[in-house]
Each structure stands twice: as C-alpha cells, then as structure tokens.
C-alpha cells in the first residue's frame, strides 16, 4: 500500500540512507569546482597563468573522490549495523 511505504520513507533509517546516497554526486562536483576556482584565482593573483589552475583542479578532483569514499563508507557502516541487528554480529 502506498501509505505504508510513505511511512517507511519517513523512518529515520531510510531517510538517512536516502540522504547519504543523494548527497554523493554533488559532493564530488562541488569539490572539483572549488578546486578549479581556487586555482584560477591564485593564478590571477600570482600571475602564474596555467600552472596553479591545473594543480588545484587535480587536487579538487582528488578531494571529490575522497568525499565520495567517505560517504560510501558511511553507507556501508549503516548497512553493517543493520545486518548485525538482524543476523547477529558478523565474524569478519
């Protein structure tokens, strides 16, 4: 029934999982954009035209992937906790 699912979505556990999954994409993009912007402004300020933009763009991409890694680790941890609640603690 539709309303049962609606209440399930309002359950905190599901809200938490949906939010974490929904957040991943923009976390990667925003870190990349901030890296690019920082490099661009530093280049304009210091007059080292193409170099700092590239370096900071790469740093931004790495930071974005680090964000994605942290978010997915959070999702996995929640999943493990749920499994432990349901099937008892895991031996790995």
């Amino acid at each position: 029934m539709f309303f049962n699912n609606w209440f399930k979505i309002n359950d905190k556990k599901y809200l938490d999982a949906i939010s974490t999954a929904g957040v991943i994409g923009l976390h990667m993009v925003s870190a990349t954009v901030v890296g690019l912007g920082m490099g661009w402004y530093l280049d304009r300020w210091l007059g080292t035209k193409p170099w700092l933009t590239g370096v900071f763009l790469i740093l931004g991409i790495v930071a974005g992937f680090k964000n994605v890694w942290l978010d997915s680790r959070r999702l996995l941890k929640a999943q493990d906790k749920e499994d432990a609640e349901r099937f008892g603690p895991k031996d790995r």
Partner: protein, 233 residues
C-alpha cells in the same frame, strides 16, 4: 516569479514588498518577507506549545515531542553525548528549513529557499559554526583535522582538506537551492497547464522532496559537527 515564469498571485505582491528601497538602493525583498513568514509561524507554534505544556501531551504538543524527540535520538546515536549540546541548533535548522520549504506549497506563498541568498546565509553560518565548535573543543590542535593520518602526508592533505571543507558550504547551498527552485518551477508549469487538477498530484511528490531536502541539510550539518568533535584520525 519562478524562473522567469509568472507566478499566479503572491501575498508579497499584494502587500507591495517585492522590492524595498533601503537607503536609496532598491533590493529584492520577497525571500526576506517569506523567511519572516516562516519565522512567524514557528514562533507562534512554539509559544502555543509552551503556553499549554502538559505532563500528558496531546494534540500539537504530541507532534512536537515526536519530531524533536526522534531527531534528538538520531543526533545522539550519531554524535554521542556531545550531540545534546548542539541539538538546539540542529533541530532549529531542520524545523526552520522545513517550514521555509513547505511555504512553497502554500497558495500565494513562495519558498524563501528558492532564492540562493537564503541558502548561502544558512550554509555559511553552518560552516562558521562547526569550525567554531572544533576550535573551542581542540584549540590550536584543531589543525590536526586538516593534516591527514600521517605526518609526511601533510603537504598533500592540507590543500585537499582545505578544498573539501570549502566545498561544503557550496554544496549545501546549491543542493537546497536547486531542488527547491526546480520544484517551484515545475509547480508553476503544472499550474499553467492544468490549474488545480495538475498541481494536486505533484503536491505529494514535492512534500516528500521538501522534507527530504530539509533532512539532508540537517544531516550534513550533523556530520560536519561530528567531524569537528571527534578526534583527528
């Protein structure tokens, strides 16, 4: 006005507060007006609940106890006992953004979060607040949060962490703004196509979307505070 489309009718237009002249400069005032509306709703609800506090809750007090109690449990399981100290801010942010978002569903009102300035203000405040809490907790040792797990990784990790911390307010702002603004535009489009019949089905979808967006803002603020509170890796 949502995305260049004519909004059917707005209370702010009727009250002539779409644009106000302050000190000779004409500024956009609509989102400020609707922010005040959300604040007025929250304040009056709060005063109403406080005025009629009972030991056995009923009616509106019951709703508030369920919402706030549930959120506090969620925060405490995630952050730990430190969470109780910052919970007033977190719960406030959740309720404030929720009411701001839901104002977009009220006929004649516009969601103040559909304007990027409102979201930027809240995101910058969150950024300053979790850094303040981190500095208060760790003192100068807060810098260790930016230096990575091993000392020889510091030259690499310092700019990385700096970038990802600066990206936080940006992603907070853009996510809330994009979602709510998009919903407002779709709502006006549906309203133009089929005035009442077309808008009712999307109300349910957007109710979910708006609750989810305010929960995401709240959850991310909580994660950032948790990162500032816990020991550097």
């Amino acid at each position: 006005m949502a995305g260049g489309l004519p909004h059917p009718v707005l209370w702010s237009t009727l009250l002539h507060v779409d644009q106000v002249t302050i000190g000779g400069a004409t500024v956009e005032f609509k989102h400020v007006f609707y922010t005040w509306c959300a604040m007025a709703v929250l304040f009056s609800l709060g005063l109403l609940v406080r005025g009629g506090l009972k030991l056995v809750p009923g009616g509106i007090q019951n709703v508030f106890e369920v919402v706030i109690g549930g959120l506090e449990d969620f925060v405490v399981t995630n952050i730990g006992e430190d969470g109780r100290k910052v919970f007033p801010l977190l719960g406030g942010i959740f309720l404030f953004i929720l009411f701001q978002n839901l104002l977009g569903l009220v006929p004649g009102c516009d969601a103040p979060t559909a304007n990027v300035n409102t979201n930027a203000a809240m995101a910058v405040f969150v950024f300053l607040y979790y850094n303040y809490q981190g500095i208060k907790r760790w003192g100068p040792g807060y810098i260790k949060h930016f230096m990575g797990p091993m000392w020889w990784l510091t030259p690499l990790m310092l700019p990385l962490e700096l970038i990802s911390h600066t990206a936080r307010p940006l992603s907070l702002t853009l996510r809330l703004f994009g979602n709510i603004r998009g919903e407002e535009i779709v709502m006006v489009l549906f309203f133009l196509m089929a005035p009442i019949v077309g808008t009712i089905p999307v109300y349910f979808l957007f109710l979910l979307g708006k609750v989810l967006q305010s929960f995401i803002f709240f959850m991310l603020t909580m994660i950032y505070l948790k990162g500032a509170f816990e020991h550097a890796h």
